[in-house]
Amino acid sequence: MDKSKKRRLIYRIAAFVVILLIAAAMFIIGRGHTVYFDNKMPENVGTEVSVPYKIEVIVADKTVAKLKSGERGMADTMGQNFKMQLLVTKEKGGDAARLQVGLKLPYNMDGIIINLPALLAGLDENAYLSEFVYVPSAEEMKEEEVVTDDTDGQMNFEG
């Protein structure tokens, strides 16, 4: 009797640990980031790099942005290992060079700006990677009224 109880306790602890592990794993692999791609001259770097005429960013076989010089694009991604393909066209009319890029994204940044010219130039991380701080628009900052009647929603279904 005692033995089966003991075994049950062990099983329970094991199950609990497994669930915790799954939760932890979800935290790691499920972390979403928004990655912004800049095709422009990096600031505060000190060195000059060349800005290509056009860069096409392909994430997971989908073209997420076609950036001419000075433009910005974005993509949502999950996890810290970020892979993308870049089709870089140096000059107008020139041939596109295909490039595989793999990046490690910092866990605690929601929005990340990657300066593609700096990346292409092979500068270090500080130079091409910076945090994007989300500034809510005035519209969003407007106080919204919360309706909390206890019978609210009993009548309007949008199923």
């Binding site: 979800m26 499920g30 972390r31 980031h33 929601d110 809510p136 919360v146 909390t148 309007n156 199923g159």
Partner: protein
Amino acid sequence: MKNKSIGDYLRRFSVPLMFVIICLICAPISGLSPNYLINEIVTRIGRNAFLILSLLIPIMAGMGLNFSMTLGAMAGEIGLILVSDWQIVGIPGMILAMIVSIPISTLLGLFCGKVLNMAKGREMITSYIISFFINGIYQLVVLYLMGPVIPIVHSTIKLPRGYGIRNTVSLLSMRQHLDNLIPLNIMGVKIPVATFIVIFLLCLVIIWFRKTKLGQDMRAVGQDMDVSRDAGIDVERTRIISMILSTVFAGIGMIIYLQNMGNIATYSSHSQIGMFCIAALLVGGASVDKASIGNVFLGIILFHTMFIVAPKAGTVITGDSMIGEYFRVFVSYAVITVALIMYETNKRKNKSKAGMQLALDQEQEEANG
């Protein structure tokens, strides 16, 4: 005997039949294309089935329609709100939200079970009021504690005043991720295969559960508490477990529901869900004391067909779009009302029937003797 059973069948399926008729009349009038309709219905099966399945266990345990399944829905919402603030996205986000929701659901289910054990014989009205009561607690947590006590970082979720959650929380990061995990398209109908697999698994669990000792105990408790107690079954505990299970499943169901919707209406999503699911289940031919998996799916198909078709048909007929809206609301409530009335009158009829039979026997004996 045979005749009676046909009548009984008609009675039992009167509600689904009525709905078939409503749908058959309204569908052509609405002018919606069959393809659109089928697409919508398939989507809604994926969206709602899990939630409705969560209602089956308390019915099995004789606790009637679980109006407090909204408790689970609230737990699911809290899980999703937290997960979106942590920026965990996609399927991992859903799984994490489920893991977060389970302990909350369990606690709420435990509370609900305990309260219902104190209100035996009026479980339904009590569970209905519990859902309102916990809604108040939920609002306290979500509107005042989230922010200062439970850290919420992102301004897209938090109200600008610094505490509380916005009226809607976007779930764009996991919108239909489960539905589209295994894409399948048959003749223009998009089928959320992965969601269906999850629902199928729950069905299997429920079927398996019925075969367990606990399931058997629940059926026994549902039919006669006193006899079960005399046989040594812990009636109170069994009832509490059934509430906990229902609440936990409802929480998971709510997460599946919301991933399909793509956003949370923080203060109203849950309150509509309870009545919705119950109406659908009843439309499927279930009653307060008897429901099967078949009822769930038949119910979703019929109820949601009506739901899609009625407003359009109403607009076509009366020229006023609101009429149809109100009509479907009315029908939902009327269905529940009729089902409840039928349940109560049947209960009484069974009693008087027993009496009549006795009287008849005596008269026969009298005639013979």
